[in-house]
């Protein structure tokens, strides 16, 4: 792989295809989009195979400094970025497949926007320049705004505005912080900034500015309200990419910027993250429990899962950070798959009302089985991807705060409640109406969309080492960087203060003498 700019090529392939799509007909655009995303998947596989686990921290580095004046075209990935890029390129062909028949109007533009989104996602994870990152990060708003607004549901215009303005407001404050950092540190290189020590009182402000952006993207309670709207109105593939990858930008941001660049501030404000996350887990899980719209339910469950990510990240230990990454990956797959499952029955009945369904196990057995798998994965059943992540993340948090862990673990119980309740209402019971009875089981296209995700979900659950290995060294690097600010945990063994009974002490002394 020496010298081959694979990351640039991975950006170029979908970019060229996105432009070409605009000049093609509907059918050709579909095939071109599928082809381009599959090429990128293949390149992604190549990327992973050539990634030297345990090797240099930054690999596949491309540096063209100052080609844009103050900033340049710098790409490069570590283990975290690698895994998230893999997630993106894995989900993209599935998104294109999910839109194959569901999208009928303005297909070339749709495919073009999805390919454009892929460029921006990969770019965000691969960027090694502060402003290049910002450009990719922020540009993602444009295609998503158009996807929700053009192909969305009834209330799509409100949702698209809310999505755009909410996330924009969060990001612009971060932009000012980035300008400050680049001026003070005299560099726009992310690796250099990750090693730069800002004074602690400045860190707090910078941290808060970044937090404003990432908390909205994540999304954390109470700035999560754009997410249910955006999810409900977006077309199926839009929801998949939104839940699967775009929500990970927030977590990735914490991992790449907040923690290594502002360790003191991160430690100082851990309480804020923990408190918001604990509220999010309990509150949004309860909200999910009473939803009558399937997509909204999954959207709220996403907020709860993302809160598990944030507590893990701010636990300042190996388990927490690796667990958070695993939850991000697992959630990306599982929530994506769940949105696809909703899309499957939505395409047949054109409603997301849970009460309209029931008894699908009778006429759609294959669907019921796959839906069951993803439901269990979302609950965090051992053997599925989410179990690994949630367990690690909560174990990490336990070392720091037992109370927060206690509160957040209720999310698993509540998660089981709302997911199983959803599954019972949709899949079990009697077939209530003729139109539900007439629904055919999964077509082979739909099987091809869900089966790969199911396989990876099980792979991650059974042999998580494949996914843990690439990030192990990066986790240690990160921990070495933030160790100096590590908050004291409340679950560590402490020295007793009670009075030792005299007799006992005597025995002990006696025993020692022997």
């Amino acid at each position: 792989m020496n010298g081959f700019p694979i990351l640039s090529v991975m950006l170029l392939v979908p970019a060229l295809a996105a432009v070409a799509c605009l000049f093609l007909g509907a059918s050709q655009a579909r095939w071109l989009a599928l082809g381009a995303t599959l090429v990128n998947l293949a390149l992604g596989a190549l990327l992973w195979l050539n990634f030297d686990i345990g090797g240099a921290q930054w690999q596949f580095v491309e540096h063209h400094e100052h080609v844009f004046g103050l900033f340049g075209w710098s790409l490069g990935i570590d283990g975290f970025a690698l895994l998230l890029i893999e997630l993106s390129v894995f989900l993209m062909p599935i998104c294109i497949g999910a839109s194959w028949e569901a999208i009928e109007k303005r297909v070339p533009e749709y495919m073009s926007l999805f390919l454009f989104t892929e460029v921006l996602m990969i770019g965000t994870f691969a960027a090694q320049d502060l402003f290049l990152f910002y450009i990719f990060f922020e540009a993602g708003l444009i295609p998503m705004y158009l996807i929700i607004g053009i192909w969305g549901g009834a209330n799509r215009i409100y949702a698209s505005y809310k999505f755009f303005l909410y996330t924009l407001l969060g990001s612009v404050v971060m932009f000012i912080a980035m300008l400050y950092m680049s001026i003070v540190a005299g560099t726009t290189s992310i690796p250099a900034l990750m090693a730069y020590d800002f004074p602690p009182h400045v860190q707090t402000w910078l941290w808060l500015a970044f937090f404003a952006s990432f908390a909205v993207k994540m999304p954390m309670w109470p700035v999560h309200t754009w997410l249910p709207d955006a999810h409900v109105q977006a077309p199926t593939a839009g929801s998949v990419i939104l839940a699967g990858v775009l929500l990970k930008l927030g977590g990735y941001g914490f991992l790449r910027f907040s923690l290594p660049m502002f360790p003191e501030a991160s430690a100082q404000l851990t309480w804020l993250v923990f408190a918001l996350s604990a509220v999010a887990v309990i509150y949004t899980s309860l909200v999910a429990l009473v939803q009558s719209d399937m997509k909204k339910l999954i959207a709220y469950s996403s907020v709860a899962h993302m809160a598990i990510v944030t507590i893990g990240l701010f636990a300042f230990n190996t388990q927490g950070i690796e667990g958070a990454m695993m939850v991000m990956l697992g959630h990306g797959l599982v929530s994506g798959a769940l949105f696809l499952c909703v899309g499957v029955i939505y395409d047949r009945l054109h409603t997301r009302e849970i009460s309209r369904y029931g008894g699908l196990a009778i006429n759609m057995p294959r669907y019921a089985a796959l839906f069951m798998l993803f439901t269990m994965a979302s609950v965090g059943l051992p053997g599925t991807s989410n179990f690994v992540g949630e367990l690690l993340s909560l174990m990490g948090t336990y070392q720091v705060s037992t109370t927060i862990t206690l509160l957040c673990t209720t999310g698993i119980i509540l998660g089981a409640a709302y997911m199983l309740y959803l599954y019972r209402r949709v899949v079990f019971g009697e077939l209530k109406s003729d139109d539900v009875r007439a629904m055919p089981d999964l077509s082979s296209r739909e099987m091809w969309l869900l089966a790969p995700i199911a396989a990876v979900v099980l792979w991650m659950g059974v042999y998580p080492e494949s996914f843990l290995a690439p990030m192990r060294k990066d986790t240690q690097t990160l921990l070495a960087r933030i160790d100096r600010a590590k908050p004291a945990g409340d679950s560590l063994p402490t020295k007793g203060t009670g009075i030792v009974p005299a007799a006992h002490a005597e025995t002990a002394a006696h025993g020692e003498a022997h």
Partner: protein, 486 residues
């Protein structure tokens, strides 16, 4: 210094003046039939003026006893002005031919040429009187241009409003000039700067007079760049004037006025930076906020773009508030990118016409444009996202540059509020995109024009991410221009 050398420094103005006078004679003898030929000849004159910029006109230094500066700053601003003026001339024949009512008269390109002479003198002025002469030459030509459709009531109203308010602004500026002259004893920028540096800017009567002079001069300049609170004329004039003229007003005179403001602020009143910075910060934030909020309710695309120009001037002023060479360079960068975005937007507005060729100006008529005219809708979407400053479009870099300068100068609250208000502005740009992409098609527009289509493609290419490749060049050029002021 001999006259030949001084005339060489003012060569662009000489070329334009002689060209304008010659074309005026041609126009007088050959009548309206020669309009198209004269338009192309005027574009050629502007191209000649651009060529004349190479050499002493951008590197000569001072001419006419320090009243005129021929430096890189003037060169950069003049390039932008001439390009924008040329586009405004090219747009006119097609527009007037399609539109019922008045035909284009050959005076139009001549007036634009004269206006360009005035603007050139504005950005080169190093003396308050040169400044005033240039400003008035530009303004008088502009008043006539605004009311160029004589039988159209809105156009006449626009011209009258522009004239009355412009005269008021000139009066305020002149009053400020007289105060400054009275208290400093000179009209030369360098000597004024010396007087401001020498005066203790608190307490004494003299300092009070200097302060008043400064405030009035800035108020007059704020009128010309249409910064809040002196922006009221802008929406009416932009709406009423013929669209090619509006495109011209939004670009070339704006660059000239901003260039003039930069030179006065830095060269003449640089020592009083602490004083004028407060005015500039207020004007910047107020312009951004009002330009954003007032645009939300607009139904007319030209009014919307008028508020957008107020909004954009606010962002440009952030760079001036920094008061550093980087800040000045950022303002110039901003204006360069702003011209491309604005010209592009107005080019699309020119395409908004019914099948008879009559212009339509409602935003509602853009409904569903992405399905009836996908390329046109894509173009306007690019310009709107770019004006909103969303990456990866080039408009983002314009904001990047000014905010970088502001943060570098330590103006954090200004930067934070400015960028937060920009989110409000994003709303109305998004509304245009929403109308084009999300709404059902309304009616069809008439067919496009090849020349205008080509210009749209060219401006869209500049605004697209391809523009980023030009950053090193643009930075080098604007920094050289900015250094000329310090």
């Amino acid at each position: 210094m001999n006259y030949a050398a001084q005339l060489a420094m003012t060569l662009p103005e000489v070329v334009l003046s002689l060209g304008a006078l010659a074309l005026m004679l041609v126009a007088a003898w050959s009548g309206p039939n020669a309009t198209r030929a004269i338009s192309w000849a005027a574009v050629a004159v502007l191209a000649g003026a651009c060529v004349a910029l190479v050499g002493p006109a951008t590197s000569g230094g001072s001419a006419f006893d320090g009243m005129y500066r021929a430096d890189a700053f003037a060169g950069f601003a003049k390039t932008l002005i001439y390009v924008a003026a040329a586009v405004a001339i090219l747009l006119a024949p097609g527009f007037f031919q399609r539109t019922a009512g008045d035909d284009l008269r050959p005076e139009y390109p001549v007036l634009i040429l004269l206006s360009a002479v005035g603007m050139g003198i504005m950005v080169s002025a190093a003396d308050l009187l040169t400044l005033y002469v240039g400003l008035e030459l530009q303004s008088l030509a502009a008043y006539v241009l605004a009311s160029f459709m004589r039988r159209d009531a809105r156009s006449a109203e626009a011209g009258l409003k522009y004239f009355v308010l412009g005269a008021l602004a000139s009066g305020i500026l002149l009053y400020g000039i007289s105060l400054v002259y009275g208290f400093t004893g000179s009209t030369l920028f360098d000597e004024i700067a010396g007087a401001y540096a020498a005066a203790p800017l608190a307490g004494s009567t003299k300092s009070l007079g200097l302060m008043f002079g400064l405030v009035f001069v800035f108020a007059g300049l704020a009128f010309k760049i249409s910064a809040v609170p002196f922006h009221m004329w802008t929406p009416d004039v932009y709406e009423g004037a013929p669209t090619p003229v509006t495109a011209f007003f939004a670009t070339a005179p704006k660059v000239a006025a901003v260039g003039l403001a930069l030179r006065v602020a830095i060269t003449a009143m640089g020592p009083a930076a602490e004083q004028w910075r407060q005015i500039v910060i207020f004007a910047a934030l107020a312009s951004i906020l009002l330009g954003a909020v007032a645009a939300i309710g607009q139904q007319n695309i030209k009014r919307l773009l008028a508020y957008s120009s107020i909004n954009n001037v606010g962002f440009a002023l952030i760079g001036l508030a920094a008061g550093t060479p980087e800040g000045v360079a950022a303002v110039l960068t901003y204006m360069a990118i702003y011209i491309a975005m604005t010209l592009g937007s107005f080019l699309v507005v020119l395409q908004m016409r019914d099948t008879d060729g009559q212009p339509i100006e409602t935003i509602a008529s853009l409904s569903g444009l992405s399905r009836t005219r996908p390329a046109l809708a894509f173009g306007l979407a690019v310009f709107m996202f770019s004006l909103a400053g969303i990456p990866p479009l080039f408009g983002f870099y314009a904001k990047f540059a000014v905010f970088y300068a502001a943060v570098q100068a330590g103006l954090f609250p200004l930067a934070v509020f400015g960028i937060a208000f920009s989110v409000i502005g994003a709303y109305y740009y998004l509304r245009v995109v929403k109308t084009m992409y999300f709404d059902e098609p309304a009616g069809e527009y008439g067919p496009g024009d090849r020349l205008e289509g080509g210009l749209i493609v060219a401006t869209a290419a500049i605004v697209s991410p391809l523009g980023y490749l030009a950053i090193p060049l643009l930075t080098a050029w604007t920094m050289a221009a900015a250094k000329a002021l310090f």
